[in-house]
């Protein structure tokens, strides 16, 4: 798993790549929670996610819920086929805010 971070217009953008599994998801969870707990709007770009399991999904769910409590934005963007399949299996594809592109998500969150 690889996680790149940058900030645009006050929105923190994570680009998530590779395999997110039981071994790597704790790292994702920590990085996301750090930002949402700092009340930063967060976009997770998932185009490069080759594999994600329930522990990875759980990290996303926890961050999404924390963001909602903190009333900051949290969105997923540009999700790979294999990742969207897992979100569908988990019936979470309708729960998250999902954008086609990172830019669209940033525009939405920075306004």
């Amino acid at each position: 798993m690889n996680l790149d971070t940058r900030e645009e217009n006050g929105v923190v953008i994570f680009e998530l790549n590779g395999e997110v599994d039981l071994e790597t998801s704790p790292q994702l969870r920590q990085a996301l929670l750090e930002q949402v707990n700092a009340d930063k709007p967060v976009v997770v770009g998932m185009a490069g996610v080759a594999y994600i399991d329930s522990s990875g999904i759980a990290s996303l769910v926890e961050s999404y819920q924390t963001a909602r409590r903190n009333k900051t934005g949290f969105a997923l963007a540009d999700i790979s086929d294999s990742a969207i399949r897992v979100l569908q299996l988990a019936r979470l594809d309708k729960v998250f805010t999902i954008h086609d592109t990172i830019d669209a998500a940033v525009t939405e969150l920075s306004t």
Partner: protein, 595 residues
């Protein structure tokens, strides 16, 4: 102390006749010789003696070697003083025992040794005393004392003393005989207990006369130099079909060594059922022995796991804690594997470390592995020389076509000489890889009973075992992916199956093992046209399947998704109990589209 012998002869009574004396002596001697109940015999003898010498009363005193206290053990006539205790040297009796010499006190009023306290207590009036020591070869075990002639006018004389001394001598022999007999009985008892202990120890060893053990490609012999052994060997089959084996040698011989052996053997068998890494197992036994073993005692030990299962190439994982080198004999060549670590019970693990021993990996390639104690190499052969490693190799070379059992019997026979005892306990353990079907020549893998039910699941595709740790998930996924690709699954289907198996493994880590663990997860994949069957097995305590039910998806929260994903992807999900051994078994079936 000076003896008080009255010089004057007794008056009135005729001296006892010689023939009467001889008769009494003969009958008493015979009685003493035939009894083991010395107290009863002493009492009986005392009656005879007291009556024969016409005394008012008599008593037998015995000296306790340890406390130097003289106690009255039998008493007749006059006054009852059984249980009376005297210090050695106290009174006429005490002086008699201390000096191992008879005493004739015609009139106690003139004797400095007379101990008046007894008379004061009992009200008895002592006039005259005759006392003879119970003399044995190198000392005195007590004394016989007679008081007062029945006729108040009479006093004891020298002849009386002679008679009493002679009788006392045979009484002393009886006392000694009885004591020796008691010691013998005690010795017998200890010997019997040792035999029982040895019997219990033998039961620790695997019994290859049982059908189950006889089928294993492993054999061992333990021959104790004395009754109990300081060596042991053991082996048992793990639920997954692998064979755990171990051999140990406790420093020293005798009871203390055998007790430590029993402890080590128990630890091996008990821990071995869950700790499936020989190096880690030895580390744990070492820590335990360091904590509790008697200082200065240690155990050299070899532990290993042999994997005869298909696809595992007979891999032997071996760990050696200060033991003799292990021999691998293959195609006429020997290879030795020396100890990697110190004996067990000497060096405790560093704080915070588990102290695991190194492991070597051996691919036996149809060869055989031999482990033995130095009792074998240092044992004497017929010529009087020690056998040494060379001798062991020579025997194995000349018997390479014999069975393991025959080879081991010959090794032990060579160092067992009829005319001298074994120098040390001798223990040998051997394992052959020759019974394993060779995968490379395309033989069908032998199925064990354990996996009989799997046969119906279809053709064997993959066996994969890995520690229950997150870092192994990637490899587990790769295995499952490969199996799917092999049977022609589409990519999307493959991805789903891989996800489901990953989730199932995570459930094992979380729910069965309660977190990442060194313990293993065993994955087998089988296929038949139109479906893939996965079996996921762990070795943890049984888990109640109802505790892993999928959560309600409308309740959005992290966690609890895994089981739902498995059920979403798989066509059949069954929580089973393994047919053998501990653990949980999950059977997953995926129907696949036929192209």
């Amino acid at each position: 102390m000076k003896m008080q012998h009255d010089e004057s002869k007794s008056t009135g009574e005729l001296p006892v006749s010689l023939s009467d004396q001889v008769n009494l002596l003969a009958s008493m001697a015979a009685e003493f010789a035939n009894t083991l109940d010395v107290d009863e015999t002493l009492l009986k003898a005392l009656h005879h003696i007291t009556d024969f010498l016409k005394a008012e009363g008599g008593a037998v005193f015995l000296l306790d070697e340890a406390t130097q206290i003289i106690s009255c053990v039998a008493c007749y006539g006059a006054t009852e003083i059984t249980g009376l205790k005297l210090e050695n040297g106290q009174g006429v009796v005490g002086a008699c025992v201390t000096n191992n010499q008879g005493a004739l006190v015609r009139d106690v009023r003139n004797d400095a040794n007379f101990y008046a306290a007894v008379d004061d207590q009992t009200g008895f009036v002592t006039r005259s005393i005759l006392c003879a020591p119970l003399s044995v070869k190198d000392g005195c075990v007590g004394a016989i004392e007679l008081v007062n002639k029945q006729n108040p006018d009479d006093l004891f004389n020298e002849t009386d003393l002679k008679v009493l001394e002679t009788l006392a001598a045979s009484a002393a022999l009886a006392v000694i005989n009885a004591r020796m007999a008691k010691a013998l009985v005690e010795q017998e008892r200890v010997k019997r207990e040792l035999e029982l202990a040895a019997e219990i120890q033998r039961r620790f060893l695997p019994d290859d006369s049982t059908a189950e053990d006889a089928k294993l490609p492993i054999s061992g012999i333990n021959k104790a130099a004395r009754g109990v052994s300081g060596d042991f060997f053991d082996y048992f089959r793990l639920p997954d079909g692998r064979i755990y084996f171990g051999l140990g040698d406790v420093s020293g011989k005798g009871i203390n060594a055998s007790l430590l052996m029993s402890k080590t053997a128990s630890l091996f068998r008990c821990l071995g059922k869950t700790v499936r890494d020989p190096g880690r197992l030895l580390g744990m036994i070492n820590a335990e022995l360091c904590e509790t073993a008697a200082h200065g005692m240690f155990v050299t030990m070899v532990a290993g796991i042999y994997d005869p299962r298909p696809g595992c190439e007979g891999l032997i994982r071996l760990s050696n804690a200060g033991h003799e080198p292990v021999l691998l004999f293959r195609e006429g060549e020997f290879q030795t594997f020396k100890a990697d670590g110190p004996p067990l019970g000497i060096v405790p693990p560093f704080e915070g470390e588990d102290g695991s021993y190194e492991e070597v990996r051996i691919f036996p390639k149809q060869g055989a592995l031999y482990i033995y104690t130095d009792g074998l190499t240092e044992g004497y052969t017929e010529t009087g020389d020690t056998l040494e490693d060379e001798g062991v190799k020579n025997i194995l070379t000349s018997m390479k076509n014999n069975t393991l059992k025959e080879q081991l019997a010959e090794l032990v026979r060579t160092v067992t000489q009829a005319d001298r005892p074994l120098r040390d306990d001798v223990t040998v353990l051997a394992l052959t890889d020759s019974q394993r079907s060779n995968d490379e020549v395309g033989l069908k893998p032998a199925e064990t009973e354990t996996y009989g039910s799997e046969e119906s699941d279809g053709d064997w595709l993959i066996d994969f075992k890995f520690p229950a740790q997150p870092s192994w998930m990637k490899l587990a996924r790769a295995c499952v992916r490969q199996a799917c690709v092999k049977v022609g699954c589409e990519e999307a289907e493959t991805n789903d199956v891989v996800l489901a198996l990953d989730e199932a493994c995570q459930n094992v880590i979380r729910h069965a093992y309660g977190g990442p663990s060194e313990d293993e997860i065993e994955l087998t994949v089988r296929s038949r046209p139109g479906r893939l069957v996965f079996r996921l097995r762990d070795f943890a305590a049984p888990v109640d399947p109802s505790k892993i039910k999928p959560r309600d998806l409308d309740d959005v929260r992290p966690g609890g998704l895994g089981t739902h994903l498995i059920q979403e992807v798989m066509d059949e999900v069954q929580y089973l109990r393994p047919s053998q051994g501990e653990g949980n078994l999950l059977r997953l079936v995926k129907n696949i589209k036929l192209k």
